[in-house]
Subunit: 300 residues, 2 copies
DNA sequence: GTAATGTCTTTTATCGGGAAAAAACATTTG
DNA sequence: CAAATGTTTTTTCCCGATAAAAGACATTAC
C-alpha cells in the first residue's frame, strides 16, 4: 500500500457533480483542466463511470445515462490527501490541552499514531516548520515552541507591517487594474453577509481570507504573499477550537472590513492607514484574548 | 548503504584537534557536549582512537599517546551531511548559466545526478522552498522561479523593513543588555579587518552575517530572525560565483558598518535610521548590479 | 492537419527496512 | 550517591521498491 488514490477519488466525486449539468461530458483534456488532474486520472474516472452505468463511453462520445446517486460518491474521508490528514492530526494535538512549549515531537510516534509512514510525517514537519511553531534539533527530535502569547505577538507584528505596506501599495494601483473589480465584488459579498450575519456568521472566515489575500497581493512581493499562509493557518485552526463570541467577533470584523474597503476606494492613503490599523488592532486583540493564560513558554 | 556516518567522521576530526591541547581527554558526556554529539558517537570515536594508537583508553582514563597526523583525519568530503551535498549541487545548477525562470525541476533526475535517494532530494526541496526561488505544482514537478531582478527587489524590500525595525529596537535595549558587549567586540573586529582589508577582504562575509544577525535578534521576533536565513543563503552562494569588485565592495561595506555601529552606540534613533538606510541602499545596489541582464522571468 | 483517443514511459508519493546516532536504562566507580 | 561507564532500546536518516498520477508518444477521427 504505497500511495492512496485520493486524487482520483476526489476528482471522481467532483466529476459526478458535473453530470447533473450536462447531457454529455467534454473531451478528456478538457475534463482534465476542469478537474485539475491529468488525462490518466480522467480516463480512470470515465472507466468507472462507464462500469457503474453512469455514462455510455465510446471514444469521443460520453453520454450521461443517469443522475448521480449518493452511493456513487466515494466517502469524503477517502478524498483527503495524506498531507491534510497529518496536518489535522498534528494540529489537534498542538492545540489540545497539554501541548506545552518545550515539549519534544517524535516522528516515529506521530507516524504510528496517525497510521502513516515516517517519511510523510518528516516531510510534513519540514513544511510546517516555516510557521515558526516547531524547531528541529539536528539528528534529533523536533521541539514544540508552543502557541504562546509571544508567538501571537510576533505573528501580528509582521502581519501589521505587511498589511499596512500592501494596503498603501493597493491604493497606488491604476484604475484599470483588475483589483478594483475584485474589491467591488468583495464589497457586495460583505454587504450580503452583514445583512444575514445572524445565520451566516460562520461564513466569515473564508471571506476574510479572500479579502486579506487580495490586499497582500498588491504588494507584489512573494515573501509578503507567502506570509499570509502562516496567518491563514493559525486563524483556520485556532478558531476551530475557539468558538467563543464567534458571532459578535465576526459581526465587528465585517463592519471593519466595509470601512476598510471604503477607505481603499477613496484612494486616500491616510484613510486607508487609519482603517487598516483599526482592523488589525482588533484582530490582534481577538487573537490574544483567545490564548489561554497557562499556555506560556517554559524556561529551557 | 542507508545512512553515512558523517556525524561520526566530522566529530572524530574535530576531536583529533583536541588531542594537541591536552594530555588526557575528559569524560564521555563532557566530550559529547564539546563536540555536539551523543555519547554513542563519542564512544565510537574513542574506540577508533584506541585502535589507531592515538590514545590509551581504560574506563575513565583516556591518555593521549601521540599527536594527530594528517593521515589520521577522515577526508573532508566525507564529513559533509547529505543535506549540504545536495544544497551545493543544487545551487551550482541554479546559479549556472541556463537556469532560466520557469524551468522544471525533476526530483528523480536531481537525485540520480547527485547520486542520492529521492527522499533526501524531496526533503531538501521542501526546506529550500521557503527561500522563494522554487514552487511546487501539486502531484507534479517543482518550478524554478529564478534568481531574477524581481527576486532581488522583493528580498531587499523585506530586508530593509526588518532591519530598520530591528535597528530601532536595538537602540531601545537597556545598557545592561549583553548586545552592547557583542557590538563592542564586533566593532573591534571591524577595525582590525579595515586595517588589513587588502589581504583579508574575503573574511568580510562571515563578519557581515554575524553583525546583521546581532541586529535582527534585537527584534525579538522569530519571523524576522528566521528571514535572515534567506538573506544569508543568497549572499553566501551568490557571491561565491560573483567575485567581481569583491575587495572594493567589502571595503565600502566595512566602513558603512563602522558608521552604523557608531550610530547604534550613539543611541540616537535618527542617526541609526540614516546609517542603516545608507548601508542597505548600497547593499541592494551591489546585489542588483550582479544580476545578469538576461536572467529575467519568462512569461507563463 | 489539428485535436482527440489509445498506449507506453517517467515521475511523484509513500511505505518498509536497515544502518547511524541518540536516548534510556543498568551498573560501576570515585 | 552523584557522575561516570557499560549495555540496550528507540529514533532519526536515508535508500530502494511500488502503486498512483503525470506526461510523452503513437494512432485515429473529424
Amino acid at each position: 500500500m504505497s500511495k492512496s488514490n485520493n486524487v482520483y477519488k476526489d476528482a471522481f466525486n467532483r466529476c459526478l457533480r458535473l453530470l447533473d449539468e450536462t447531457k454529455s461530458l467534454p473531451s478528456e483534456p478538457e475534463l482534465g483542466t476542469l478537474l485539475g488532474v491529468s488525462r490518466t486520472t480522467v480516463r480512470s474516472i470515465l472507466s468507472r463511470m462507464e462500469e457503474t452505468g453512469l455514462i455510455a463511453w465510446n471514444k469521443r462520445d460520453k453520454t450521461v445515462l443517469r443522475a448521480a446517486r449518493p452511493e456513487d460518491f466515494f466517502p469524503e474521508e477517502e478524498t483527503d490527501s495524506l498531507a491534510e490528514i497529518i496536518e489535522r492530526s498534528f494540529m489537534r494535538r498542538l492545540l489540545a490541552e497539554g501541548a506545552e512549549a518545550g515539549m519534544q515531537i517524535n516522528e516515529l510516534e506521530l507516524a504510528r499514531e496517525i497510521g502513516v509512514g515516517t517519511t510523510s510525517v518528516r516531510e510534513f514537519l519540514i513544511r510546517f516548520s516555516r510557521f515558526g511553531l516547531i524547531e528541529k534539533r539536528r539528528n534529533s527530535h523536533w521541539v514544540l515552541k508552543g502557541f504562546t502569547r509571544a508567538f501571537a505577538l510576533e505573528l501580528t507584528e509582521i502581519r501589521e507591517m505587511f498589511e499596512l505596506r500592501s494596503a498603501s501599495a493597493f491604493v497606488a494601483l491604476p484604475d484599470e487594474s483588475a483589483v478594483w473589480v475584485d474589491l467591488d465584488r468583495l464589497e457586495v459579498e460583505h454587504r450580503q453577509l452583514a445583512g444575514e450575519i445572524a445565520t451566516r456568521f460562520n461564513e466569515f472566515s473564508e471571506l476574510d481570507e479572500r479579502f486579506h489575500r487580495l490586499i497582500h497581493r498588491a504588494s507584489h512581493n512573494r515573501f509578503i504573499v507567502d506570509f499570509y499562509d502562516v496567518i491563514a493557518m493559525i486563524f483556520h485552526y485556532h478558531y476551530q477550537w475557539n468558538k467563543a463570541e464567534e458571532r459578535q467577533r465576526n459581526e465587528v470584523a465585517v463592519q471593519e472590513h466595509l470601512a476598510y474597503i471604503a477607505a481603499l476606494k477613496s484612494r486616500d492613503p491616510a484613510k486607508v492607514d487609519a482603517a487598516c490599523r483599526k482592523h488589525l488592532k482588533s484582530a490582534r486583540q481577538t487573537l490574544l484574548s483567545s490564548i489561554p493564560e497557562g499556555r506560556q513558554a517554559q524556561p529551557a
